[in-house]
């Protein structure tokens, strides 16, 4: 809490009134140089990390990582949630408390047990998830089809 206060005080005035802590809802969220999906990736922020919004532009926000002020960049506003997200308890060696925290949830540990109990095949889902187009591919595809490339840089 104290840490947060220190950060807020250190922010420029323009942000002081607007600064609100939000949480990253993407795993991991790519930080962009400009407010556009196909803009250059300059870093990434882990799921559930707390960030402060310094600037807004249309559906994009310029954020700063609470735990490391040197980490800044653009994210889609939709990548953030105002509800605090618990850290993921993803590892199979998660302790009882972590699992209890995730008690309502569904993570890879829960999935493993579920798969066993219900004889579900998740390898097909892993296959499906290997199919997503990567962004560079999509940018070239969009340009070739005279479509918008999400604001890609030259």
């Amino acid at each position: 809490m104290l840490f947060l206060v220190v950060i807020c005080l250190s922010l420029p005035l323009m942000a002081a009134s607007k600064a609100k802590t939000q949480y990253v809802a993407i795993d991991p969220a790519p930080l962009k140089a400009k407010p556009a999906a196909s803009s250059k990736k300059i870093g990434s922020i882990e799921y559930a990390s707390a960030v402060i919004v310094l600037q807004e532009e249309k559906s994009w926000v310029y954020v700063q990582l609470v735990d490391d002020k040197s980490v800044e960049g653009w994210l889609p506003a939709s990548a953030l949630t105002s509800k605090k997200i618990k850290d993921k308890a993803n590892s199979t060696s998660a302790n009882a408390d972590e699992i209890a925290l995730a008690g309502k949830g569904f993570n890879s540990t829960i999935e493993a047990v579920y798969a066993e109990q219900y004889e579900m095949n998740f390898s097909i889902v892993d296959y499906i998830e290997s199919l997503g187009a990567d962004q560079d591919e999509a940018i070239a595809f969009a340009q070739e089809g005279q479509l918008n490339d999400g604001g890609a840089e030259e």
Binding site: A25, I26, D27, A37, S38, Y47, P76, A77, S78, A79, T81, K83, I85, K88, T92, S93, N95, A96, I99, G103, K104, G105, F106, N107, S108, T109, I110, E111, A112, V113, Y114, E116, Q117, Y118, E119, M120, N121, F122, I124, V125, Y127, I128, E129, L131, G132, A133, D134, Q135, E137, A138, I139, F141, A142, E144, G145, Q146, L147, N148, D149, G150
Partner: protein
């Protein structure tokens, strides 16, 4: 127990179908005569009050993703996933990525993925985790890239609007006030876990895991109840259509292709068998037309650009058909 759970899965799958693009789908989730009696049994398998209190909290993006994975796994047990049509699958994924990178929600917890289901049925559906399924039958219904983009944009809109998640939330809250006993389910899970010993956890830890698995099972149950009986509401379908038009527009696709697609669906002979809450293509066409007239007129270069895309669609589609095994 297992048979029962499998029927939960298939019922869950049927529920998700309702959320698809499928006005002309030939699947009728209401046709299963055994369903209500199963539901009576399923009703008894709910989790502890404590779990449900936790469950009534908001679903996190991570949970959305894992629920999506389990829904995807269920779909894959019911329909053959086409793992051969690499080119067409890649083409669909590029269309999808082009749509999402120009949308307000270019990223999900993980991402968006498209896969083809090898079935004649005309169908498309999406999980809350961004797994989008398009059937061969539906691909055969389309005649241009822009029409395919309309199908994908509609599914993307359902995902971005969180429609299936809304159903889970509402149902989980309802579950909290329903009569709950979990004895049967938990006993079964404990026994099975002791047998399997797959996870290196203490008994206490395993109990926690099983509680969570059970809650998930609950949520699935409730999704079944909510979606199979009611489907997505007409409003949600119209909302998905409307959002799809704007997603298409910002990507540079011709939103009017949505109209072509719906007209194709209307003409389809299998356009029947849906619940009263599911809007007909005719109603959707009406709404889409109204929305289109309010949208900015297409760029004059659209016609030419559309032709460029039409040509690459033709090439992709021919290749797809050549390698198709009947």
């Amino acid at each position: 127990m297992k048979r029962l759970h499998l029927s939960i899965i298939s019922a869950l799958f049927a529920a998700i179908l309702v959320s698809g693009f499928t006005s002309c789908a030939s699947i009728d989730p209401f046709a299963d005569g055994g369903y209500s009696s199963e539901m009576a049994v399923l009703g008894a398998i709910t989790s502890s009050v404590q779990s449900i209190e936790k469950a009534s909290e908001t679903i996190t993006p991570e949970e959305e993703y894992y629920i999506g994975r389990s829904v995807a796994a269920s779909i894959a047990t019911t329909y053959p996933v086409d793992q051969g049509s690499y080119q067409m699958t890649s083409y669909l994924n590029k269309i999808c990525e082009t749509l999402v990178m120009n949308s307000d929600k270019p990223y999900l917890y993980k991402g968006y993925y498209v896969v083809i289901l090898d079935t004649d049925e005309i169908n498309a559906m999406a999980t809350p985790g961004g797994h989008i399924f398009v059937s061969r039958g539906l691909i055969d219904c389309t005649d241009s890239e822009d029409a395919l983009a309309a199908v994908l944009a509609h599914e993307i809109a359902h995902v971005q609007l969180g429609h299936s998640v809304q159903a889970i939330k509402a149902s989980r809250v309802r579950a909290a006030v329903s009569d709950t006993t979990k004895a049967v389910a938990v006993t079964g899970l404990v026994a099975a876990n002791n047998r399997s010993g797959g996870l290196n956890l203490s008994e206490k830890e395993m109990e926690k895991v099983m509680e969570a698995v059970n809650v998930f099972s609950d949520a699935s149950n409730e999704v079944v109840k909510t979606l199979v009986n009611t489907g997505f509401s007409k409003e949600q379908e119209f909302e998905a259509d409307k959002n799809a038009l704007y997603i298409m527009q910002s990507a540079g696709y011709d939103p009017y292709a949505m109209l072509d697609m719906l007209e194709q669906l209307e003409e389809s002979p299998s356009n029947e068998g849906w619940g009263s809450t599911h809007p007909s293509p005719k109603d959707r066409i009406k709404k889409v037309n109204k929305e289109l007239s309010a949208m900015a007129k297409a760029n004059p270069a659209m016609k030419e650009a559309k032709q460029v895309r039409k040509e690459r669609f033709n090439t992709e589609y021919e290749d797809y058909r050549i390698f198709e095994i009947d």
